[in-house]
Structures are given as C-alpha cells and as structure tokens.
C-alpha cells in the first residue's frame, strides 16, 4: 500500500445515501451564452451522476480550452480546466497514476479534434478507462466563430468568408479508426437519450467516446436542427437499439437495408419490405460500426444516434498495475539500498 492508498484508505467509496443532481452543482456561476446547448449537457450529466453510485470525491472532470471546456467548473467534483487540446494526455497521466478515480474528459470539436486530435486517438488506442464527452458544435465558440474540423465543406465563418475548403472529420469514424472500445452519439436537445448514453459510457470499461451534437446559438445556430427539432427529427434520426432492426420515421414506417455494404432507406409501408429485411443493430460488430459511422456522409440517410459500438479490450492502466504487482511479487518491494549497491561495485579501504 503506497502513501496515497494509505492516505485515502478510510475515504468512503460509495455514497451513504443517493446523491441528487443538485449535489453535482458547483458554486460557480455558469457563464455560457443564454440558450447554449452546453446547459443541457451539464444538466444531463448532473442527473446521471447520482445513478453511478460513486463518491463525488472520486470523480474528476478534465477539459482543455473552449466554451465546452468550461464544463468542469460547474461540476461539484474534482475539476481540471487545462490547456488547449491536452485533456486526454492529462487524464491519461492521472488515470495511470490513480486507477481508483473515475476520470472524464470534456472537450469540443476544436479542442478534441483539432489541436488535441493526436492525444485523443492515442488515448482511444491505449484504451484507458476514461470517458470522453465531445461537445460538437461544428464551430470554435470561445474564439468567436471560426470553422472547426467538423464544420461542413464550404462553411462561411470569420476565418472563411469565401467558405471553407476543408473536408470535415467524422468524429465517430476517427474514434473507430483509432479502435476506441466504446463509440456513441447523442443530442443536446434529447435529455432522456443523452442520459441513457452517458450512463452507458460511464459504465463501459475502457475509453468511451461520446459525440454530442451541441447547438452554438451564437455562432452556429441550428447546425443540428434537422436531427434535434421535433418536426424533422423522427424522419432523420435512427435511435439505435442493440439487437433491434433499424426502423425510423414519425410512423416508424421506414427502415435501413444494406445493398452490398451500403445502407439504403426503404419504406415499410409499400409492402415491398418488412421488418425482417432490415439491418439489425449489433453493438459488438466492428464492421457494422464503420457502416453506421459513415452514414452521416450521406445526406439522404438518417443519422444513427445511440451506442454505435461497444467492446472489451485490456485496459492500459490495469495492465500497467499488473506488471507492477507481478514484479513486486517476483522481486519484492524495491529496496533502495539494494538498488544502489547492485551489480559491479568495489571498496576502497
């Protein structure tokens, strides 16, 4: 048992009585623009936390820089508002040093995919047990409206008055390309869905990557309305459910079938297709996850939201701790005296 374990050995591990959302509200006044999608994300996270049955003092939210990265200030947990893009690296160091903590990363499409892209994919690859919430508003909010790596091609912004000429990242695809073990998408304007997804992410053992469509009503208002607003949502979103066929539409009268590897929308009304023809969701199917992720590249296809992929892989910090335990078993706790005197030495009388 090292000093830290010693120090914290009596600290409670689970709440005596269940927390309420309010217990996770810090004393800092929230400084996002009125109407910002970030408020909803904060609210949902605060609602989910009590469900996790983990002590606040064992939770840490790490962020970079951006409006989204202000998130930790508002959570009554440990919080770390770091520098731009580096949250995954800081969180990795923390998690490796302290596997006992539940570590979250709150980041944005700029923080997490522009300057921080490399740290993010390396964290996914290593599969540390850290949960990433990526607030995707397809814009740089805090710096007042430049396009981001997720902004659509041709987007007109402060830095692209003639329209951007960048092909955007597909965040899910980037995470899957880095072999993230949990990949999901949810919507700022669908509280229930977001809560469910965040809970799944929290429970997953490994790096959980959650893309959240977040409205920046000041610099990119309505970017996701097609998928978040009542009137258009049902016909443009597929709510993924493991083991269930992919149905959507106001009247649940449309579905997805595969033609070759390419998803296609079919009507369940025209008698030509039935439920049984539809693609069935399987969270553990790697290949399917790529197909689902790619759907967002096709405007005529609905957007899948929910848990796209989930699998188990060895956890970096667990393997590391195991190596340490093993070598302590084999060689005994390190002895400084021995270390300094081992190998070739000689004595001068």
């Amino acid at each position: 048992m090292n000093t830290i374990e010693e120090l914290l050995k009596d600290a409670p591990k689970t709440p005596a009585q269940k927390y309420s959302a309010k217990d996770f509200q810090s004393d800092q006044d929230v400084r996002w623009c009125p109407g910002c999608g970030d408020y909803s994300i904060l609210a949902q996270v605060q609602r989910v936390m009590p469900e996790l049955n983990i002590m606040r003092h064992n939770m840490v939210f790490v962020s970079g820089i951006g409006c989204s990265s202000r998130f930790p200030y508002y959570m009554e947990t440990y919080g770390f508002h770091s520098i731009h893009g580096r949250a995954p690296a800081i969180a990795s160091g923390l998690k490796i040093a302290r596997p006992d903590l539940q570590v979250w990363v709150a980041t944005g499409d700029g923080d997490g995919l522009s300057i921080g892209g490399n740290h993010l994919i390396h964290m996914c690859r290593r599969n540390l047990d850290i949960k990433i919430l990526l607030f995707n508003n397809q814009i740089y909010g805090l710096t007042k409206g430049q396009y981001s790596p997720t902004s659509e091609f041709g987007k007109v912004t402060k830095s692209t008055p003639y329209g951007s000429v960048d092909h955007p990242f597909n965040p899910l695809l980037v995470a899957l390309g880095a072999e993230a073990s949990f990949v999901a998408r949810t919507l700022d304007r669908d509280p229930k869905h977001m809560q469910a997804v965040i809970k799944r992410a929290a429970e997953h053992k490994g790096t959980s990557f959650v893309e959240i469509y977040q409205n920046c009503n000041v610099f990119n208002d309505g970017a996701f309305f097609t998928w978040t607003e009542k009137d258009t949502k049902d016909d443009n979103v597929i709510f993924l459910e493991n083991g269930k066929p992919m149905v959507f539409g106001k009247e649940k009268n449309k579905g997805i079938v595969l033609d070759g590897f390419t998803p296609k929308v079919v009507s369940l009304a025209d008698g030509k297709h039935s439920m049984s023809d539809l693609m069935v969701h399987n969270e553990r199917d790697t290949m399917l996850s790529f197909i689902l992720a790619r759907m967002s590249s096709f405007p005529d296809l609905p957007r899948p939201v929910g848990v796209v992929y989930s699998t188990e892989r060895p956890l970096y910090e667990v393997e590391m701790s195991r190596q340490i335990q093993d070598s302590i078993k084999k060689q005994g706790e390190g002895n400084l005296e021995k270390l300094l005197n081992h190998g070739e030495t000689w004595t001068i009388q």
């Binding site: 830290i4 003092h57 200030y73 998690k95 302290r98 903590l101 706790e333 270390l339 001068i348």
Partner: protein
C-alpha cells in the same frame, strides 16, 4: 625478457574502431578493472550519430576514452596518451586527440585498401612517415586473433568479433592490470555460449601474453591507486544517476514516481532505466509526443505522484506551454532536459549547454521555474533528488539541466548511505474545514496539495488566472498583479532553503571562474593547475541557476575579474551581468565537445596577464 616499469600519475587511453568493433565494451572493461585497482577515473564514450554506419567509414567510428590516475581525476582527459586504432577511419578521426609523442597501437589488418579508401587516405599512414611524432606500434591484431582461435573452428565472423579482447589484453599488460575481472565478466556474460567464453578468454590472454613476450613494447607502466575516500564505489553514468536519484526521492517521500516521456537522444536512457524498476512502483508512460509526456506527468502530480518528464532541447521547446500551466497550477513537476547540440535537430549525439536561457525564460508571460543543474555524472543523482525535494516542498515545476556529456560520461561514485539522504515529507491536505486551493503556507508560500479522492476537497483548478486564496478564475487587475508577484516570490524564496555557494580556493582574489553544470571537471582541473602555479584564481560552480544562491553577489564582488566558461555563446554570463551588473567575461566553446582544461587555463593566463 624483463621490461622496465615506469610509474605514472595519470594516463588517458582512447579505444577507437568501427561501431561493430566493440570499442565501448572494451573501454568499459578496462574501466571496471581500473576502478577495482582504486584509481580515480573519468570516462567518455563517443558514438557515431548513425545507428550502424557502414564499416570502415569516418562517420562510423566509435570511440571510448578513459582517464585514470593516482591523483584526483575530474575529466576524461584533454588529450590522450594512447590511441588504439582498429582501422584507418579510427586513426584519422582520433589522431587530433593524441598528444605529441603519444602511443598509437594500430591493427595492421584493419588498414587494408578498402578501409584506407573509405577513410580517404591516399597512402597507408602506417607505411609513410606521417606518424613520426608518435610512438607507433603496428600489431596484426586480427591475424593474431585468428591464429589464437584456429583450433576452435568458429566462423570468421565470430572470430573477428573477438579481436577487441586482444587489444584489451595488450592494454592490461601495458598498464599492469589483472585480466581476471574481465575473465570473470566474460564467464557470466556468455554463460549460454561456452565456446564464446573460451574464445574471448583465449584472445584476452593472448593479447596479454603478446605484450609480455614480444619485443615491440619496450616499457610497461604502473599507475598507483588514488587516495579516494574509503567506502563502497560503483561506476555510474549521468543518465543512470538521474533515474536513481528520482527513485531515491520516490522512496524517501513515499510517493510513486510517474515518468511521462517521449524518447530522444541523449535523454532516452533515463526512460529505459526507469522502466526497469516496476517493483519500486515506478510508472513509465511512453507518450505520443513531448507535450503528452509533460501533460501526463502533470496529471499524475495532480493525482499525488511525483510527475516527471525527461527530454532534450527540441522536446524542451515543445513543453513550454505546459510548463506555464504547471506554474499556474502550482503542482510539483520535474522536467529533465539533457542538453544536446542545436539549434533545431542540430547535433543530436553531441553535448551543449545552450538551453539555460530557454529553461529560465522559454515560456509565455511571467512563468518563473526553479532551475537546478548537475555538475558531474554522479552528481546527477543528488541534483535529481534535490529537484524533487524543491518541487514537492514548493509545489512548483522544477527544471533539471543535464547534458550529453554528463549523461553518457561515467565516474566512480562513493555509494551514499540511504539514511544520509535528506528526507522529503509531502503533506496532503485532508481537512475540508477552511480549505482553499490557493491559500498559502507562510514559510514556503506554497499552496496545499489536495488530491482527487480526498473527501470534501472537491475543487477546480486550471490555466486561467486564479484568485488569491479561493483559486477561482479572476480577471481582476490587482489580483493578477498580486499573483504574478506571488509566483515570483515563491520561487525567489527557495534561495532561503538551499546551501550557500562555496568557492574552491580563496574567497577573495584577482579572478573567479564561474561555471555551471557539466563544465565542472574541466574548470576544476584548470583552476587547480593555475593555483598550483600560485595564481590568484578561484572556482565557483553553480548548481542552482534559478534562484541563485543568496551569497552569490557577495562572492562575485570579491574578485577583480569574473570569467564564465560555457558550452554556449554566453548564457549564464548574460544573466550574471544583468543581475549583478558585473563585467563578466565569457569564454565560449560551441563544438559539441566539453572544454579542454587547457583551453580554460589559457584564458585564465590571458586575463591575469592583462590585469
């Protein structure tokens, strides 16, 4: 036949050959045997930048220099007395370091046409008179090795590999060292392959016998033991010493060590060394880049570990932003910079001291960070330990400067008594009552270390300016100025907590030579020599570059002149001039090589003659 035995105070030998010729191994064997005899010594390997440069090329030459003696030895030697050259390239590259009248032992078989061409020699230097001013001994090392091993029926490749032991054997004979330690070493090392044990041992003995029996070597030398402090010694390189110093600090403080690092020459060996000691709970994280290296270390420190990151110049330049974060967060962090030749990628395998100003100033805005520098390979142990002590006590990043010369150089080290090490006692905040993340200890001005997992201390930190006491984000003008000055004051205050600077030699005089870091050996040797000549010169060597020791100014003002030798264009001298307004004279050398003490001696003479 009996040969006359000459006594010498000190000797410098350089083994040089192809990367493939095993010169490093040869040198190290000679070193440990010599150490066992109680000589003081200092060594310096000199690898090619290429991994495996083609055989025989000039850039493929690998060398190992050892300086040993019955007197105090502080450097690997300015020039060498003996040069063992296994091929023409080795001769060409290293001849410049051989003193006039020095001994050359050349492996004739290595000087074939192909190799001569590769070393662009027009004619064979062994056959013209170009080496007249040296004592040239030509030995058929390869052939003799083959003869020795004929009977064993080993492959030529294997046999060739043994020839360095022949050279070693000769040197053992020439300097009257026993071969047993090496024989023993061969036996453990090649346990699994008896035929190799047999071969190497035979060749070693053959080399020794060759010295004994042949006519070529007229004389033989003895170097008496040095009067070293009694006790148990080992040989240690700077990189090993850094790693062990960090481990020692971890043991003493009871905190786990976390290293976040990205490999880079010449710092990588610290990562390699630390990754061996899992039973000390050392966690080494090979990060995706230098920025992840330092930021992961910050994350670990936040969690209550000793966060450390190791790198060299180019990586250091990438860590600047994160160092600033460390300054704002006021968390312990140790940043080790093993300096190398620059700018940019520069000369990766060569040494330099040119990151001092970067260490002190290389960040945005006012971001003061204590800077400690190691002065000898073994001192890296104490410097690393001290860096951790300061980092934890003052809740601050600390930069430890080493360099390529210290990192790879080795010296005998009187193994310290573990209990004699100062202790490091971190205190973690646990009491929620009246807890404020940016309240301060009156004495150290450091803020509480409140780690995640501690009930009731949930709080938020970050890179935006902090409000005094509460640590809340604050854009208040007066608070900002207060905090900027507070962070500076905290670092300045460390001067109260470090030993005063002490001068080698008189504390008043005509000339003070002020050095820092890896130049210790050469400066000390030079100043000692001049003092023996009765010159009024003293030596002050700085381990603390920020803050300076309290009495530094006072010392400087006691000398008529101040000379600052550095392996850069005069960086310490800039800082001294600015802080103390003294007309410090700087002596610079930027060749990727340490100073020769002679170079410093000449400058001393020049300044004293002027005065």
């Amino acid at each position: 036949m009996a040969k006359d035995l000459k006594n010498l105070d000190d000797v410098t030998i350089r083994f040089a050959g192809d990367s493939g010729d095993g010169m490093q191994l040869t040198g190290m064997q000679f070193t440990s045997t010599t150490a066992l005899l109680g000589n003081d010594l200092s060594t310096l390997p000199d690898y090619p930048a290429e991994i495996r440069a083609p055989a025989g090329t000039l850039f493929g030459v690998s060398g190992f220099q050892i300086h040993f003696g019955s007197t105090e030895i502080n450097t690997p030697g300015d020039t060498c007395d003996v040069l063992v050259a296994m091929n023409p390239a080795a001769l060409k590259v290293n001849l410049r370091s051989l003193r006039d009248g020095g001994i050359i032992i050349a492996n004739r078989d290595g000087f074939n046409d192909k190799n001569l061409k590769l070393a662009n020699y027009e004619k064979n230097p062994l056959e013209d008179d170009s080496l007249e001013k040296y004592q040239l001994h030509i030995v058929d090392i390869t052939k003799l090795t083959h003869n020795t091993l004929e009977s064993l029926g080993l492959s030529n490749k294997l046999v060739d590999r043994c020839k360095n032991f022949f050279a070693l054997g000769m040197m053992y004979w020439m300097y009257t060292r026993p071969i047993e330690p090496t024989v023993k070493w061969i036996q453990d090392k090649f346990k699994k392959t008896p035929e190799i044990i047999e071969a190497n041992t035979r060749v070693l003995k053959a080399g020794y016998a060759f010295g004994e029996t042949t006519e070529i070597f007229a004389s033989r030398y003895e170097v008496k033991p040095a009067s070293l402090k009694p006790g148990r010694y080992r040989s240690i390189t700077g990189n090993e010493a850094v790693a062990w110093g960090l481990i020692a600090a971890s043991v003493k403080s009871g905190l786990d060590l976390f290293l976040g690092s990205y490999p880079i020459t010449p710092a990588s060996d610290i990562l390699h060394e630390l990754s061996k000691y899992k039973n000390f709970r050392v966690k080494t994280f090979q990060a995706e880049d230098e920025i992840a290296g330092i930021t992961s270390a910050i994350g670990a420190s936040y969690g209550g570990s000793i966060g450390v990151t190791t790198t060299s110049g180019p990586g250091m330049a990438l860590k600047g932003e994160a160092m600033g974060l460390g300054v704002m967060l006021e968390l312990p962090l140790v940043i080790v910079d093993v300096q190398r030749g620059g700018p940019s990628t520069g000369l990766p395998t060569k040494t330099e001291q040119a990151d001092l100003l970067q260490a002190v100033y290389g960040r945005n805005s006012e971001a003061p960070i204590p800077v400690v520098a190691a002065i000898t390979p073994a001192d890296c142990f104490f410097a690393a330990f001290e860096a951790v002590r300061i980092a934890i006590k003052y809740m601050t990043p600390v930069i430890l400067l080493s360099d390529g010369y210290l990192a790879n150089g080795a010296e005998p080290w009187l193994i310290p008594d573990v209990n004699s090490l100062p202790d490091i006692s971190p205190t973690f905040r646990t009491d929620p009552n009246g807890f404020y993340p940016y309240s301060r200890d009156e004495k150290t001005l450091s803020r509480p270390w409140a780690i995640p997992g501690t009930p009731g201390l949930e709080h938020r930190i970050g890179g935006l300016e902090k409000e005094h006491i509460t640590g809340n984000v604050s854009y208040d003008p007066e608070n900002h100025e207060f905090m900027v000055k507070m962070r500076q004051a905290k670092v300045d205050r460390i001067a109260e907590d470090i030993p005063l600077a002490t001068v080698d030699g008189d504390t008043v005089g005509d000339l003070l030579v002020v050095g820092w870091g890896g130049t210790y050996g050469s400066i000390r040797t030079a100043v000692e020599a001049k003092r023996r000549e009765g010159k009024s010169v003293s030596h002050l060597h700085l381990k603390y570059l920020n803050p300076f020791q309290k009495n530094l100014g006072e010392i400087l003002y006691n000398f008529k002149q101040v000379l600052v030798p550095e392996i850069n264009l005069g960086q310490l001298s800039k800082i001294l001039r600015s802080k103390y307004l003294i007309p410090a004279v700087s002596l610079t050398k930027v060749q990727g090589l340490p100073f020769k003490s002679s170079e410093i001696e000449n400058k001393i003479d020049e300044l004293l003659s002027k005065a």
